[in-house]
Symmetry: C2
Amino acid sequence: MKITQVRNATQLITYAGKRFLIDPMLAKKDAYPGFDGSARAKIRNPMVELPMSIDALLDVDAIIVTHTHLDHWDDAAVELIPKSQLIYVQNARDEELLRSQGFTQLRQLSATSFFDDIALIKTEGQHGSDEAYAIAELAERLGDACGIVFKHPTEKTLYLVGDSIWIDGIADNMRQYQPGVVIMNTGWAHLLRFGPIIFGLEDLLKAHNILPQAQIVATHMEAVNHCLVTRQSLLQYAQDNQLQAFVSAPYDGDSVTF
Amino acid sequence: MKITQVRNATQLITYAGKRFLIDPMLAKKDAYPGFDGSARAKIRNPMVELPMSIDALLDVDAIIVTHTHLDHWDDAAVELIPKSQLIYVQNARDEELLRSQGFTQLRQLSATSFFDDIALIKTEGQHGSDEAYAIAELAERLGDACGIVFKHPTEKTLYLVGDSIWIDGIADNMRQYQPGVVIMNTGWAHLLRFGPIIFGLEDLLKAHNILPQAQIVATHMEAVNHCLVTRQSLLQYAQDNQLQAFVSAPYDGDSVTF
């Protein structure tokens, strides 16, 4: 498989010969204000430009949208992606949203979803702390987010965990599916007062302890205002904890293959 | 009160007119190897020199040793501190150790201990994760560590939390004692595989959410090998989360007063 880091959580994944675009946020640098109520909200998003052309990004067999927050599915994606493009979404609500935006080829991820002979198994996430979800307005804003386990006889299993903090369900998935490659969104995005809503540094260690042979690809860093972990600090942490052989954090436009 | 950062967790605290020396690690730079099995163990300890003379450090009314790990109570402290110095320890085991080292004026901290009219209330800590304490050898090595609540009619209450990860008991103490000032050991010291054994960045946020008016003094950074949080990263985190008015991280030799 080949995983190309595009920007933020946007990635191109070639898996069993098929090309997937993950979580397209396609706007130009500074198109949107920072997320209200989050850390460093005065910084505009996205913080950097895309590293490749829209045409190169859209030359794919399917798109997967793990959830529809602006940094995973944005106005530019709605505008630029052909309405007949096959897109996988996490649930009926997101399907309805994308249908209202004009998209016609929508499929819901599930425990038994496939693209051709590639299993695309939907997994759970929790996009913030219990304290945050206890507040109705925040629970609505954080909403649902999913991950995907990719399985195919010719490839290692790939677990794209999606936007989540560490929860038991993720540990359970790692034990159950034994992925050889794990994509982790490690930017440690912070809401003011409520803290992290996605993984941070320590979650690398938790994943490695469960999957000591797996390769971890870290993404969702250095592109949106509220993410406080940089690639440099992540790679330093990996080295300090002797995980450097198992952790990569490709820069925008760079690829890793497994 | 005046809190002077010395080095690592070593501090001079003037409280209600009395001078306390906390957790003396008095060796010269590079005196000891890094902690075996911890992050960055090739770095020798302490990583920096003391910022003031031993005489200035020992001109105190009492010493408090929260626990006897080498970075809180070291060979140099044993050698340099007069054997008749009044020293508070956390329990019978540490009292026995210091007695065997020749110290004669030892008092155990407790729920009802005092120095003159200053209450020195012993509080609990947990010096690593449940997973670490589940391993007998590690549990023995990590051992017990305590904190202290200082109370006096003329001063704000001071909670020196000591070497601990975040546990419910600490939140409970914050709610019970409502300290105006909290000293937090935020160096995020890591054991390989087992992760943090003292506070890290996120714990600032947890403390602030419980005590929104309290001043937090961050210490135990940039002096021993396994601490991965620097003052600069901590102050940046505080600023990113709009806590900068409540957090200080004095450099060695610098003081804060409240």
